[in-house]
């Protein structure tokens, strides 16, 4: 089974994801260009990396949503298979309406790039099962538009369905209810602002991020 890393013009950390999957988890990642119209066969999970796709024109993620590959990513997600969006990937998944809400400019208007302490609010998802419930983890953030917003009824829905997976212990961007990462109602699509691929090796300052990748890779291997 392959792990598809989607590349848009302006994606970054795509190689970091590739490296984590190939060199640390010993599975088979594959880059998929945004101009492709179909994902390869036997894809276990789709990963949408960070960056500034299409220069964040209009709104971050707004144009990437229309990339040819996104139709098949939606089909894949609709089949209940795992899709993970990190940073710009999170923004793209909200714009594509695979996740509720949206990401605004940081409340203080500054780009934040720092280590960030997070709380694991739900360790029962395909993306968080290697964490303890309530565990504090350290995963860095690097974003200008990370300020998650949704309306009151959506927020209530997120809480009722335990869709809030990660929250900030000290909110770096003004996001509603300190939200750092959520899953969709079915639990197979996750979006998060922090960069787990940048916290996957001791030399990078920690391995908490690696466990997020391990969560869905091991999930996949169990299903074999």
């Amino acid at each position: 089974m392959k792990y598809a890393v989607i590349r848009f013009p302006g994606s970054n950390c795509d190689w970091d994801m590739f490296y984590v999957l190939r060199d640390q988890l010993h599975v088979e990642p594959i880059f998929v260009d945004y101009r492709e119209t179909e994902l390869p066969e036997d894809v276990a999970a789709v990963l949408v990396p960070g960056g500034f796709s299409y220069g964040d024109y209009l709104r971050s993620g707004a144009i990437a949503r229309f990339a040819p590959i996104m139709t098949d990513v939606k089909r894949f997600a609709g089949e209940g298979k795992p899709v993970l969006g990190i940073c710009n990937g999170f923004q793209i998944l909200t714009e594509a309406r695979l996740l509720p809400g949206g990401l605004r400019k940081n409340q203080h208007l500054e780009f934040v790039c720092q280590q960030q302490e997070l709380f694991v609010q739900n360790n029962q998802t395909a993306f968080s099962n290697q964490f303890e419930q309530g565990e504090k983890v350290m995963i860095p953030v690097a974003h200008g538009d990370g300020n998650y917003y949704c309306d009151e009824s959506t927020l209530q829905q997120l809480k009722d369905n335990h869709q809030i997976v990660l929250t900030y212990s000290e909110n770096p961007n003004g996001s509603i209810d300190d939200i750092a990462g959520i899953v969709n109602e079915q639990g197979n699509v996750m979006g998060m602002m922090p960069h787990p691929e940048r916290a996957s090796e001791d030399i990078l300052g920690g391995t908490d991020g690696l466990r997020l990748f391990q969560s869905f890779v091991e999930n996949q291997q169990l299903q074999k």
Binding site: L58, R59, A62, T94, E95, P100, G101, G102, R104, K105, N106, Q107, H108, L109, Y149, C150, D151, G174
Partner: protein, 86 residues
């Protein structure tokens, strides 16, 4: 031909940090009577007249792309341009 102007801002219920920053700067310029600033986006579109309903078309452009309806609201003005033949 239609000339269409679309204005997009954050919904009123959402804090607009850029507007707040601009307001603070205006106060520093001594325009202390500025009560609020909303920053938004402005689009000008020239749209050819077809058989399709222009209001419905513009409405769809707004909800499908020009705004993120989760957090933004929009208004638009449509002006039909009279073209001189020949």
């Amino acid at each position: 031909m239609y000339s269409v102007k679309v204005y997009v801002t954050y919904k009123a219920s959402i804090l607009d940090p850029q507007g707040e920053a601009v307001k603070t700067a205006l106060h520093r310029l001594d325009f202390t009577n500025v009560e609020s600033v909303t920053q938004g986006k402005y689009f000008e579109l020239m749209i050819k007249k077809t058989g399709k309903n222009i209001d419905e078309q513009v409405e769809e452009m707004c909800t499908e792309l020009l705004t993120n309806t989760n957090m933004e609201s929009y208004t638009y003005e449509i002006e039909e341009l009279t073209t001189v033949e020949g």
